[in-house]
């Protein structure tokens, strides 16, 4: 140990778990001889079992430890990280070393125990053997076909595969372990160091049976534990347990080479020593030359390039925002990564980590053995899984046809939760309850909220074998007077939706919304950067101030809203990105207040092509209604003077609403029942027919094929709200009602009072068009009457007077007349020169 200061490199410092391992709070591990070779972290301790003659194993961990016979299974040689040939480990491992001091009542037949526990090493070993050899997935067992059963188990196949590719590790799903042997699982979680060491031994036994010449060391990596802990709840009782954590990587250290084996040479005679392995984070430098002939003192020097090093990295993990309680800052925890796990994650990645929680004491000084009373904690990482990536994989695998599984991975559904949600869905008035729970501080607007609820739940996306696909996302536009809490609704939906992006139209550019190509300054590669719509794939993109968006940016939305992709063709990249997003936009009328005399198009100045892509367009008008005002006043008074919590009743809170929604989106994929389909057809035909008034020559389009698609989506969403796999007739009826309410508000022709889809699709209602035609013909008649061909000209104001005389009741504007004259001029009937009209 005297050489420590000469070779500071060997001292792993506080970054290694081993230094001064005797202070690590790791009772069974330190004292048992069961050592894991992996990770370079844990190694044998040379202390005699005498020190533990009365093993008062930590009470917190084990209830009756005091007179457990403790024999320490010892492994006579250390498996150092695999590259060293493992010469039949089974023969050397697990020879019971009878430590006579330990157990007075020990008897010869006593099996080997993990130190401080009553866990028998043999039992564990055989359990693991059984598991590895015989575990088969449930589906295989259920399918029952004989050939399947006689096939090799899941993990035997995995082992074979690893041998083929000369891999280094086998991933073992902890759920499998639990299903096969729950006892083994609980032992593994409670005593991970020991059990995993045995696991590795068993694995190597099997490997050497299959291929005795296989030289690499194969390790087991456990993942997918039954329960995962929150970083905040890690406490002293978790030390030395296997834990699973979710978080975000915020910092990675550089890769640290950690010495594993050192070789020394003698400066006097040039003798090379045998490799010396790291012991407790140190290398014991030989003080004298080992060669019998030489024996020179203090002559040994390290030969760097003959030493073996392993990779090590320290990664800091931070809580994700959803785990942080109110008024707290995120906690962080350090992870220790070895070998393969190094650089497995980058800062910013969301990961799920399985590892062993460990604590290490802090020494006062480098040369001192005394320690402070403090411990530093870290997680010795066994397995790391990127959660974001896995979601992407799931998405891709399921594709569009299986319905959009737009859930956040963060929301986990356990049995109890699902039961609770299902219970909730059975309420007869669940639709109303959810509507009420949606933005409870915004009163009224029930129909709008219902529409938004449908949007949150979404319909089923459909992909036909022919390649045509139909979106399941519902797009909604809110148009209304200022101060009608449109933005608040948007904010609310944004908070609620699984992957919402909130942008403001004024501040968004076309590339900001879709995607843009940039050149990486370092590599010169072109990279695609996703915009808001691509980022909200399978979510809801909320666009405030839609009307103030630039024309250019809006035109990008055409593709997104119907095809649900964003196509890019520039700078060497031609790509089509998925943007399966619902758009929720809100716009103010162009003249700050909605002018009921004008059409929607005129009011919001949006191109009809874009407008028709919205399934529902709601006009939120501020009507001078005393009833509404009273409710508003009541609401605000209550807000200020009463305990707001007590005022809310019969509502579902936000967390449950989110969970309910996510569950429905993931698991419920309703289909149209025959009855519903029939109702849909009937209703649609009815709607179309309403345009044809008997005895009227004008034809008003009240519904378009786009509407029937919207209707299907809406009714699917409604069924989903009920957790029903079938779209029933009443869903369809409600969908019709929702559509009609929305249309009545936006597509009503104010002069006739009927619904006219032309208002949306072309911006001009049928009656308006008729009126214009009438005006043109009336003007034509007057001009025919009053003016001579090529004669004197006439002022437009005079014409207006004449027209007003003809039809005294109607309102006529100069503007309308000008339009009519322009039509006539294009026919070549008149010439308009400023204010004068001349007949040709």
């Amino acid at each position: 140990m005297a050489s420590d200061s000469d070779f500071p490199n060997f001292n792993n410092g506080p970054s290694s778990p081993d230094d001064s391992i005797d202070n690590t709070f790791s009772s069974p591990a330190d004292n048992s001889r069961v050592r894991r070779g992996r990770g370079g972290g844990r190694r044998r301790r040379s202390s005699t079992p005498a020190a533990y003659a009365t093993p008062l194993a930590s009470q917190s961990r084990f209830a009756t430890p005091s007179d457990t016979p403790t024999t320490t299974p010892s492994r006579s040689h250390r498996r150092s990280n695999g590259r060293r040939p493992t010469t039949s480990p089974s023969s050397t491992d697990d020879i019971p070393v009878s430590s006579s001091e330990a157990g007075d009542d020990m008897d010869e037949a006593t099996p080997t125990f993990v130190w401080g526990t009553n866990i028998s090493v043999q039992d564990v070993k055989s359990a693991i053997q059984m598991f590895l050899k015989h575990f088969r997935e449930k589906e295989v067992l259920l399918s029952g076909s004989e050939t399947e059963i006689y096939k090799e188990g899941k993990y035997m196949r995995a082992i074979n595969r690893v041998l083929e590719v000369e891999g280094e590790c086998i991933d073992v799903d902890a759920h499998d372990v639990f299903d096969y042997d729950s006892d083994l699982y609980s032992k593994m979680v409670r005593y991970p160091l020991e059990v995993l060491a045995i696991f590795d031994i068993v694995l190597m036994d099997i490997v050497s049976l299959i291929n005795p010449l296989f030289e690499k060391h194969v390790q087991v990596r456990i993942y997918n534990l039954k329960s995962s802990t929150s970083m905040r709840n890690l406490n002293p009782s978790d030390i030395e347990k296997m834990v699973s954590l979710k978080g975000m990587i915020i910092r990675c250290s550089s890769i640290i080479p950690e010495i594993r084996e050192a070789i020394f040479s003698c400066l006097v005679c040039g003798y090379y020593s045998d490799p010396i392995v790291v012991d407790r984070g140190r290398i014991n430098e030989p003080t004298t030359c080992l060669k019998q002939e030489c024996l020179a003192k203090n002559s040994m020097t390290l030969v760097h390039n003959r030493c073996r090093f392993a990779d090590k990295q320290i990664v800091r993990l931070q809580e994700t925002p959803d785990q942080i309680p109110d008024g707290g800052t995120p906690n962080t925890v350090n992870l220790l990564m070895h070998d393969k796990l190094v650089d497995a994650g980058k800062p910013g990645d969301r990961v799920e980590v399985t590892g062993i929680y460990r604590a290490m004491s802090v020494r006062v000084g480098p040369a001192q053995r005394t320690v402070k009373s403090l411990f530093k904690t870290y997680i010795d990482c066994l397995h790391i899984k990127k959660t974001d990536k896995s979601r992407m994989l799931v998405d891709d695998a399921m594709g569009v046809d299986s319905g959009p599984p737009r859930i956040d991975e963060e929301i986990q559904f356990d049995e109890a939760k699902i039961e609770q949600l299902k219970e909730l869905s059975k309420q007869p008035d669940i639709y109303e309850t959810l509507t009420r729970s949606l933005a409870p501080n915004i009163w009224e607007l029930d129909d709008v909220k219902k529409g938004l609820l449908c949007q949150l739940f979404g319909g089923n996306a459909l992909k036909l074998p022919s390649g045509a696909s139909f979106r399941g996302d519902i797009n909604i536009l809110l148009v209304g007077d200022p101060g009608t809490s449109k933005s608040q609704l948007l904010q609310y939906i944004h908070k609620l939706s699984p992957r919402g992006i909130y942008t403001s139209g004024r501040g968004s550019s076309a590339v900001g919304l879709t995607a843009y190509v940039s050149k990486d300054p370092e590599t010169g590669e072109t990279v695609l950067e996703s915009g808001a719509l691509v980022l909200s794939d399978r979510g809801i993109c909320c666009i405030d101030e839609f009307d103030k968006m630039s024309e250019n940016a809006r035109s990008m939305l055409h593709e997104v809203m119907e095809q649900q992709t964003v196509s890019i063709a520039k700078a060497g990249i031609i790509a089509s990105l998925n943007a399966r997003t619902s758009v929720l936009a809100c716009a103010n009328p162009s003249g700050s207040r909605y002018n009921p005399r004008l059409s929607v198009i005129d009011n919001i100045h949006l191109p009809p092509t874009l407008l028709s892509r919205f399934d529902l367009i709601y006009l939120i008008l501020d009507k001078a209604d005393e009833q509404t005002d009273r409710r508003l006043a009541k609401h605000i008074v209550a807000l200020h003077f009463e305990n707001p919590e007590s005022a809310e009743q019969g509502m579902v809170d936000l967390a449950i609403l989110t969970a309910y929604m996510s569950y429905a989106r993931k698991h419920i994929h309703p289909q149209l029942s025959d009855e519903a389909a029939e109702e849909l057809t009937r209703g649609y035909v009815e709607m179309r027919r309403r345009g044809n008034f008997p005895g009227s020559s004008k034809k008003v389009i009240t519904a378009t094929p786009r509407q029937i698609e919207s209707l299907i989506r809406l009714s699917e969403a409604l069924a989903r709200i009920r957790f029903s796999e079938w779209v029933e007739k009443h869903d369809v009826i409600e969908a019709f009602r929702l559509l009609e309410v929305a249309m009545q508000q936006s597509a009503t022709d104010h002069s006739t009072g009927t619904i006219d889809m032309d208002l949306i699709t072309t911006g001009v209602s049928a009656s308006e068009r008729m009126r214009r035609d009438n005006l043109v013909s009336a003007t034509r008649n007057i001009i025919m009457e009053k003016m001579q061909l090529g004669g004197s000209s006439m002022r437009t104001l005079e014409l207006l007077e004449e027209l007003k005389k003809l039809s005294p009741g109607s309102e006529l504007h100069l503007h309308d007349l000008r339009n009519a004259l322009a039509t006539l001029a294009s026919e070549g009937f008149v010439v308009v020169h400023g204010d004068t009209v001349k007949r040709l």
Binding site: N11, P14, N235, S253, I256, I314, Q318, P325, A633
Partner: protein, 586 residues
């Protein structure tokens, strides 16, 4: 009263040890102390509160740190600026056959060379909080504590002298306190009066210096308290054991040696000579009232409250150049606080925008008002909103992952802080991305009383409760306030020396009245509703925000009279005020 066997003030660790041994002697197993107290806290609670020793415990700040002894009991008043997570330590260990504890200390007092085997030690955890003095703390809040400090230091000397007479000791101190308090008070008055008069003249830079002057951060180690109790930006008083680690430097060398990892923790960046450690025994959340000089038990009697209200209003009117309406609004504004949150709406906030202030007049009236506010409220901050400031300042706190610390931003303020935003200096120009972000932050704070903290990979919204006062020439669009009132002074600045008694009464008034509960009678509620409906029928442009504002004003108006339920009279006063305001806006 049985005298303590240990002097809790001078040797708190001794007292801790004593109770530990007592608990062990009574047959308790150290394992049962996991995350629990064994009776030490009761002793200190009794000592501090029942025996009234709390006021004798020195307050730790930049001046007192020079003479306060380590390992003694100190107080620290500050805001939780950052949370550094948990720390595991050897809580109890067996030294030979005797159990010893390390609770409330950094390094063990006995060598624990060969401890290590788990049955012989218990690992416990404690939380680390990084606390700073409350940002923008007004000087008058401290003067009181300093006086107390002096008296305690005198007493400490006395105490040493009569240390052997320990049994009567506490009684004696109590008596002394009673005797000395009138004189101390007089001294205090003189002191603050002279300070005040000085202040009137040269107060221009005082806000900045206030912030700079007293910035002693502190690392608080909290034991066994539920996480929900202590929240970020809360103002707390911690009573605990001050420790100064001597081995930090050695520790640092050790870390340099293996610095390629960053296993070193945040503490390395906080050497204890800069950031003292306090092992907290008892903590309590502070209210504004705790900062008052005489947190006396004045009954909030209606007459008295009314009287103080009138005089405060007169003062504000004088400060505002005889603009009585503006003074009314300022008074209501000073009383506002967020008392409920429903979804995104912060109910109870009342931000005020004084318009028609030019660059010239702001230097007179703005400063005047700022001084007045500073003298009235404990935590104030003034933000000169210039283009350069917007483009360069870091308003939002930001997490620095290099040091794993939260870098404070200007907007990390304690609950109930007052913030003046002076927009009159703003000129036309271009905002860069920082500027846009800062403007957005201010707007969010104004609208939702929330500040977004930047955690690099994501942002986190923290709720705030900050009174915002905006000075601007026209209506401010960067920070749209709830109330906009054109400022119309009719007289020049009236120079007035305010008697300290009055100042104290006003402070007491603002702090007390602000926290009054409030309700409304159902009849009155009907009436208010009717009025609102009628108003909306008459003017369609009135929206929910206007209603909210009116109701907030009504609540504050009746609170300003010390009443807990809204009366018709006050409601009509509010309507009248609103009418006058609207007239001015035209």
């Amino acid at each position: 009263m049985v005298g303590p066997q240990y002097d809790c003030q001078a040797n708190p660790l001794g007292a801790v040890r004593l109770t530990f041994e007592k608990a062990l002697a009574s047959g308790l197993d150290p394992a049962s102390f996991d995350g629990k107290d064994w009776g030490a806290l009761d002793l200190f609670r009794q000592f501090l509160f029942d025996q009234g020793a709390l006021s004798h415990v020195p307050i730790l700040n930049a001046t007192t740190i020079r003479w306060v002894q380590p390992n003694t009991l100190v107080r620290f008043r500050g805001m939780i600026q950052d949370m550094l997570g948990n720390e595991l330590y050897v809580g109890a260990y067996k030294d030979g056959s005797v159990w010893r504890t390390n609770k409330f200390m950094d390094a063990s007092q006995h060598p624990m060379g060969m401890v290590g085997s788990p049955p012989d030690m218990r690992i416990w955890e404690r939380r680390l909080l990084y606390c700073v003095p409350v940002p923008g703390q007004s000087s008058w809040t401290e003067s009181s504590s300093e006086v107390v400090m002096n008296s305690t230091s005198q007493q400490r000397e006395k105490r040493r002298r009569m240390d052997d007479d320990a049994s009567n000791h506490t009684d004696m101190v109590l008596d002394e306190e009673c005797e000395s308090s009138p004189s101390a008070k007089k001294m205090r008055e003189n002191g603050s009066r002279s300070k005040d008069s000085k202040r009137e003249g040269t107060s221009n830079m005082s806000t900045l210096t206030d912030v700079e002057r007293n910035s002693l951060p502190c690392l608080i180690k909290i034991y066994d308290s539920p996480e929900s109790e202590l929240k970020l930006n809360d103002v707390f008083e911690f009573v605990g054991v001050l420790t100064l680690e001597s081995d930090v430097i050695a520790d640092k060398d050790d870390l340099d040696e293996s610095s390629n990892g960053f296993f070193e923790d945040e503490l390395v960046h906080l050497p204890s000579f800069k950031v003292p450690r306090i092992h907290c025994l008892i903590h309590r959340k502070l209210d504004v009232r705790d900062f008052l000089h005489n947190p006396s038990t004045i009954e909030p009697k209606p007459d008295l409250v009314k009287e103080i209200r009138e005089s405060l209003l007169r003062h504000l009117t004088a400060v505002l150049g005889n603009d009585g309406i503006a003074a009314h609004f300022v008074l209501l504004h000073l009383l506002s606080r967020v008392h409920a949150r429903v979804d995104n709406v912060a109910v109870g906030k009342l931000s005020l925008n004084l318009t028609s202030l030019s660059k010239e007049s702001v230097s007179v009236f703005g400063n005047q008002l700022r001084c007045a506010v500073e003298n009235l409220l404990p935590f104030t901050y003034c933000m000169p909103l210039t283009l350069e400031y917007l483009n360069t300042a870091s308003l939002a706190p930001k997490k620095d992952y290099q040091t794993n610390r939260l870098i404070p931003g200007v907007l990390q303020l304690a609950e109930g802080s007052h913030l003046i935003i002076d927009e009159t200096q703003l000129e036309t120009g271009t905002l860069n991305s920082t500027g846009v972000e800062n403007a957005r932050l201010l707007k969010n704070l104004m609208e939702f009383q929330k500040v977004e903290y930047n955690f690099e990979y994501y942002k986190m919204e923290m709720t705030a409760d900050i009174q915002l006062l905006v000075f601007s020439e026209g209506k401010s669009n960067i920070v749209p306030a709830d109330l906009v009132i054109p400022f119309q002074p009719s007289s020049a600045v009236s120079f007035e020396v305010v008697p300290t008694e009055a100042l104290e009464a006003w402070r007491w008034y603002l702090a007390t009245v602000r926290s009054l509960p409030h309700s409304i009678e159902s009849e009155m509620q009907k009436m208010v509703e009717n009025d609102l409906v009628a108003a909306r029928q008459a003017d369609r442009s009135l929206g929910s925000q206007d209603f909210s504002r009116l109701l907030t004003m009504a609540r504050l108006m009746s609170a300003s009279f010390g009443e807990t339920s809204l009366s018709l009279e006050h409601w009509q006063m509010v309507k009248e005020l609103e009418r006058l305001r609207r007239e001015r806006l035209k």
